[in-house]
């Protein structure tokens, strides 16, 4: 049983029992299903993508070898570059706002107060909602004449908003849906962190006359920081993956105003039938994601927040 040094170091010392009964000939059966799935529906499609990215391949048509032609087109594609900016804009908002609001919500719901249980249960409900149903009901609420949101705004004397029907408000509006849906998850992760916190630092800080902001800033925040980082990583991954909500609510529009990379890819491949071209985009991002995950793994091993 040879292993990489790092794994051997982190594993508990091998016992006599393990040495005596070597399972190395028998364990492959357990890994077999995973290996089959990985090869047939992960590795093969990936290799196939690389193959497609150097071809001009249209659905129903033939294919021509174009070498790096698809990649060259990509560099000069304004729509592609625009989608990168939109993805960045959407992701930053859809990560930062839930983290900030989720932290505040966790601080509130960590305290004891009447009706806390029921209010917290209500607040967590969006997490259980399925994306297409969420998109459906929000789309209804954004309806220019009939939607309830403009009605609510009018109650406060605020002029109606165009929500997803204007290029300037579509991204913030979609972020609002994302915030509604996923702030509870951030809160739950941070509540887990708060629950495990020691009380001694607070007691001694109180004796030293610290006010509540100082206690938050110098005790709660540092102790909560690992959990905030976890929420940050999970939120970033999830925000980069968003497809259903945008596709059902705005279809990337108006125009291309909410066309994130995921929507761009989908439209190129299945609306404009440029399979080779969209494969080239995937290959580029595959490379970027590999690089990013290697960096993340490296940081994770260095800081040991998950050893």
């Amino acid at each position: 049983m040879t292993e990489s040094p790092a794994l051997a170091a982190s594993a508990p010392p091998r016992s006599a029992a393990h040495k005596k009964y070597d399972f190395s000939r028998k364990y492959w059966v357990f890994a077999l299903p995973a290996v089959i799935v990985v090869l047939s529906v992960i590795v093969f499609p990936w290799l196939f993508t690389v193959f497609m990215s150097v071809h001009d391949w249209k659905i129903g048509g033939g294919m021509d070898f174009v070498g790096l032609g698809n990649f060259r087109t990509l560099v000069f594609d304004d729509r592609f570059r625009e989608s990168l900016l939109i993805t960045f804009y959407f992701t930053v908002l859809a990560v930062v706002i839930p983290i900030v609001l989720g932290t505040l919500a966790a601080l509130v719901f960590h305290r004891e107060f009447p009706f806390r249980g029921i209010l917290r249960t209500i607040f967590v409900m969006p997490m259980m909602a399925t994306p297409v149903a969420v998109a459906l009901v929000w789309k209804m609420m954004f309806h220019p004449q009939l939607g309830v949101l403009n009605y609510l705004l009018s109650l406060f004397g605020i002029p109606p908003s165009e929500w997803v029907f204007s290029t300037s408000t579509v991204i913030p509006t979609l972020v609002m849906v994302e915030v509604w849906h996923w702030t509870p998850l951030v809160m739950l992760i941070l509540l887990g962190g708060l629950a495990g916190m020691p009380t001694e630092p607070y007691e001694s800080a109180k004796i030293d006359g610290a006010n509540s902001w100082q206690m938050f800033r110098f005790i709660t925040l540092p102790l909560l920081w690992p959990y905030i980082m976890i929420a940050l990583v999970i939120r970033t991954i999830d925000a980069l993956k968003v497809f259903d909500i945008i596709f059902v609510i705005s279809e990337g529009g108006p125009g291309t105003a909410s066309e994130t990379l995921n929507i761009f890819l989908y439209l190129q491949a299945f609306q404009f039938y440029k399979l080779g071209y969209s494969s080239a985009v995937v290959v580029i991002f595959f490379t970027i994601i590999v690089a990013l995950s290697l960096i993340l793994l490296y940081v994770r091993q260095k800081t040991k927040w998950n050893s």
Partner: protein
């Protein structure tokens, strides 16, 4: 003195309630809206009332009896969603449990590589895999078959499932395995009698995760299935929504019916979910 402290804490509590209630109301708006449409008669839900003047369950009857041309295959589509979610859940559990057991307990060779690959696959947005998945399923001759979607969902859910289960099983004491091996247990007995019972909470979390992932999936379902009789509920809802003359009250009723099962499953297993799924990320 004590009364002063008591009054201060009452003030604190009042403040917290004053924050909590608006937050809860904001959360409830869309949910309430969905419900309001589902129990309103055609064209009355828009009237801006807080509660419909004549609440009715007729919309549910219309949906259940498939009495609208958009709903002709409602029960079949509902069944498709159930079948695909259940199969995905079962397959992911089998694959991920075996793999995690092999990597974590039997110290299978190459385990570290598999773990890193799994984590990496989790980072990739599903839309990125859409083109290769679509072409691959075409090559396998599975387009329009429910197995295309099941396999795709298994491929997407397994890496994360393996990752989480491996982290969870690393936390089980090694001594248990050793004791079982001393008593002459085979790997299969070790798996069945020692490993599975101890892993139950994580398995519940992962099973739920995979089922919800498959139930919620829109993009792949939309790409891989196209016949009215083979699509799942979210795709049917999407098609329904895309039509210009779609009756909102039926759309919302169907949406509500579609949203209930996952919410119920999630609620039933909620205590496993967050702790189970973030266990891999949180150092305890």
């Amino acid at each position: 003195m004590t009364t002063a402290i008591k009054w201060r804490s009452v003030g604190q509590e009042a403040k917290l309630i004053l924050i909590g209630i608006p937050v809860a109301l904001w959360t409830l708006i869309p949910i309430y809206h969905l419900l309001l449409f589902a129990i309103s008669k055609k064209d009355t839900a828009f009237s801006g009332n807080l509660w419909p003047s004549h609440p009715t369950l007729a919309n549910f009857g219309t949906v259940f009896r498939q009495e609208h041309y958009f709903l002709n295959n409602f029960w079949l589509q509902f069944w498709n969603s159930v079948f695909i979610a259940a199969m995905t859940g079962a397959l992911v559990l089998v694959i991920a449990t075996f793999a995690a057991f092999a990597i974590s307990r039997l110290k299978a060779r190459g385990g570290r590589l598999v773990m890193n690959l799994a984590l990496f696959t989790y980072f990739i947005p599903a839309a990125f895999l859409a083109v290769p998945m679509y072409r691959t399923m075409g090559l396998y001759g599975l387009l329009n078959s429910q197995w295309a979607l099941i396999l795709a969902m298994v491929a997407i859910a397994s890496p994360y499932a393996i990752w989480v289960l491996k982290q969870a099983s690393d936390k089980l004491p090694q001594e248990l395995d050793e004791a079982a091996i001393m008593d002459g247990a085979s790997p299969l007995q070790l798996f069945r009698l020692v490993y599975l019972p101890l892993m139950m909470p994580s398995l519940v979390a992962i099973g739920t995760y995979a089922i919800l992932l498959a139930w919620n999936e829109y993009l792949y379902a939309f790409l891989l299935l196209s016949k009215d009789t083979s699509i799942t509920l979210p795709v049917a809802l999407g098609n329904f929504l895309a039509a210009d003359d779609s009756p909102w009250e039926l759309l919302m009723t169907t949406g509500l019916i579609y949203a209930l099962p996952p919410a119920a499953i999630y609620y039933a297993f909620r205590k496993y979910m967050v702790s189970g799924l973030t266990a891999g990320a949180v150092k305890s």
